[in-house]
Symmetry: C2
Subunit: 145 residues, 2 copies
DNA sequence: AGAAATCCTAGCAATTTAGTGGGAATTATT
DNA sequence: AATAATTCCCACTAAATTGCTAGGATTTCT
């Protein structure tokens, strides 16, 4: 259970967009250059973020990407959910075909209960963390060094 | 980012042990039978839990496993950490060889910051959840059906 | 002695991850 | 109109991880 590069790269790319795309669109290659990420790979990640409505694009020369919304209205959770899949699917171990309101083998449900708790913890953490805050953080780090 | 079968099976096995191993050791095969888990696979998971000091074992015929501590003193986090690896390693994307107190490329640190927050959320959730509570839950489900 | 168990190590198929690669379509600039 | 910059789309691949399976060696109760 760990954050994959998808999530890490995605977060960094979105912060990068927040910093550099305010007045003009930013190309994949410039983000990839700054963030030292494979541009071909980043392309796919940004594609997902676009599909999810978090970034907008302008095609053609001098085109690129911009944040689709104010950074205050994008949470880390929004980004991670797109790239890491459902942050957590609360599923029983039983056959998913059967539609049982209350699991046959009750022990199975322990997992669900634990997972529910974990889920709440994660959601609370990432959904209250705005991109705006991350951008601020990133600027802060610069000043601090 | 999801809970793998390791974590799910492990939680169920530990609850099973909590319920059935109070007075006598319980064999892998009996747990696997009740929980409908591959016994060969479960063996490996329990092996890790033993190595981590969460369960104790008695070898030979009529042997088996028991909880090493009171269920009140074992958290879901303890179990998940053993089976899911470090629940989350807070790493930068930069070279891990270099020992930089403050990252060169500050943007990298955004990931660290987000991850720290997520980590706190998860830890808060799973470390406050005791095995005793899960066992109670599991009994509760039985009564409810 | 024999059976029931833990313990140890290795292998393996399926899935996921982290990319690479080849282009087609669109648009600004010259 | 030509060119270059860029998004967009789809397919392929190598490495790692997951979820097992397999074959024993060892220990201990009966």
């Amino acid at each position: 259970m760990k954050l994959s590069t998808k999530g890490r790269y995605g977060l960094r790319a979105m912060v990068d967009l927040g910093v550099y795309s305010e007045h003009e669109p930013v190309s994949i290659s410039s983000i990839a250059g700054r963030q030292q990420i494979s541009d071909r790979y980043l392309e796919q990640l940004i594609g997902k973020l676009k599909k999810a409505g978090l970034v907008s694009s302008i095609r053609g020369a001098q085109g690129g990407y911009q944040l689709a919304r104010d950074p205050k209205d994008i949470s880390a959770g929004d980004i991670l959910r797109v790239l890491e899949g459902d942050l957590m699917s609360v599923t029983c171990d039983g056959d998913s075909e059967k539609e049982i309101p209350c699991c046959e083998a009750s022990d199975y449900c322990v997992t669900r209960y634990v997972w529910q708790k974990v889920h709440e913890g994660i959601i609370a953490a990432v959904d209250n963390l705005t991109l705006a805050e991350l951008i601020e953080q990133s600027k802060g780090f610069h000043g601090g060094c």
